[in-house]
Symmetry: C2
Subunit: 316 residues, 2 copies
């Protein structure tokens, strides 16, 4: 039976994507820059099916809900000329980690669909298509540092060697249902009094970030990433209504990290549209930093990941 299996990692943006300049074309207001994490990924299998009335979709061994069926089916129209397939997607992202798995999910689906439906798009074109599934998924098509330019669909790797980076994810439970990123970024864009300034500054930061990546300057990369993430959260919080992704534990850990940073420059932190904190380190420093983090974080809440590779097909 015809079958293709794709795998893709999540990616963490060092310069964030927060708001669409064009919601239909999915052009972002800011240039985002990311790298992938090998520990968190999705494996998606596309299989031919006999009954071709509609796509059938399983996520984590269970039939997907109607909303996901609709979204995935719509996304598959970018590839399929009418054939309806069976999609089975397994997210290897720890439960309750609050890590958005849509980045790895749509990148894995895209890489599998690209072969299954014989589109054979080049990676740059595939990333452009992937953005219609989930904006951040587009960056997971590539390995290394990936840049998505503001006001465009130019999504390409940065021409620099990958640094030996890693990241601790500190898992913090969300006790409140959080607002979906898609909706939250639109609220920020239309109501935050610092949104315009956020865009201007984030785009300047992305330029400096790209230069820092080319210079392999960990401290500049880290300090821009930390500033950029906090600035994004300020932009969220200054929206109406105020969008607060911080949880009590987020603040507790942030106080510890800020205090540590007064004397230690081994790490920087970033956050996405959720309560978790991600700590960026050079791979060689991971044990030193782990020991520091363990003074205020229990071991089971700490997951380390090395950088990961691009979306790819799995060998049978």
């Amino acid at each position: 039976m015809k079958q293709v299996i794709g795998k893709a990692n999540i990616n963490i943006a060092l310069c964030k994507y927060w708001g669409k300049a064009d919601p239909v074309l999915v052009y972002p207001t800011t240039t985002s820059i990311s790298f992938t994490l090998d520990k968190f990924y999705t494996v998606t299998t596309i299989t031919a099916q006999a009954n071709q009335d509609q796509h059938t979709i399983d996520i984590n061994h269970k039939p997907a809900n109607a909303g996901d069926v609709e979204k995935v089916s719509k996304f598959l129209e970018h590839f399929s000329d009418g054939e309806k397939v069976h999609v089975s997607s397994i997210n290897h992202v720890p439960i309750k980690a609050g890590l958005a798995s849509s980045a790895s999910a749509y990148a894995a689906l895209a890489i599998a669909a690209n072969t299954y439906f014989k589109k054979h798009y080049e990676p740059a074109r595939l990333a452009q298509v992937t953005r219609f599934g989930s904006g951040s998924a587009a960056r997971s098509i590539f390995s290394h540092f990936v840049k998505w330019e503001a006001n465009s669909d130019r999504i390409l790797p940065i021409d620099a060697p990958m640094m030996d980076l890693g990241m601790f994810v500190i898992m913090i439970d969300a006790s409140e249902k959080r607002i979906a990123s898609r909706q939250a970024m639109e609220i920020s864009k239309t109501t935050s009094w610092i949104y315009k300034e956020w865009v201007k500054r984030a785009n300047e930061q992305a330029q400096v970030m790209e230069a820092a990546i080319k210079k392999q300057d960990f401290h500049q990369i880290g300090s821009i990433a930390q500033d950029n993430a906090l600035s994004m959260h300020m932009t969220m919080m200054s929206s109406k209504p105020s969008i607060v992704y911080f949880q009590p534990e987020t603040i507790e850990i942030m106080h510890h990290l800020l205090t540590l940073q007064a004397t230690c420059k081994d790490f920087y932190f970033t956050m996405d549209a959720g309560p978790n904190i991600k700590v960026l380190v050079m791979h060689q420093d991971k044990e030193v930093v782990r020991n520091k983090l363990l003074k205020f974080v229990t071991p089971e809440k700490l997951i380390y990941s090395h950088y990961g590779r691009e979306a790819h097909l799995l060998e049978p």
Copy 2:
């Protein structure tokens, strides 16, 4: 024995003072607007003393530390022509409430010193002098709504009747030593990427706030106050280093309040340079709001205060 007793309340700014336009003249960058709370106050007694080598100062029945002796002695130079007195100051502010008592302390000292040393400054002039002790203390010289205009020493009551307002203070312990306001506002002013925009917007808000006070429009007063306070905290957090006055409990309670506000417009909240949250209500609604707050705050953490009067001398 010659003795004068002064009393002054703390005041809560609805439009905040966060940064000096001129540190020597103590001119603020933003127009602040406050009202006083009757529950939290300082009573200060100035007594003649035989040994006149230096001022002697007791705070809460204990000799003041060297730093406070120096600050208070320096402040008394605005009134005394050389006479050295005994000052005894009692703060009626709950211990660990994290409420800055310097506002009531310097206003009480000023009102007592004004009579003791026979300066007899009019209130407007007395407020100008008081600002050299503590900026926010200047507003505690007056009752009702008080405005301190940006870039100036014009500190005057707003010409409008006092509304029947009250405030719940939700006491949240600070588990970390927080940075002093004086230093924090300077860091914000020199390093926050949104400081300029904060100033511009806060000054626009103060104008709308004054009009809302004259119209007695509780909802506009409240919503501007809440926005202004969160904006100040965003300005703090976007500083380098990031100044975070939020504590874990602050965030927990803020989530509850924001959720409540989706359906209830009986209250708005504000925060100062500390972890506590203050909930602004119309006095008539206090029991309704108290019951809502008690769903996530224990009774002993909730202190209600009605609005209070201006700094004044106590009858013997």
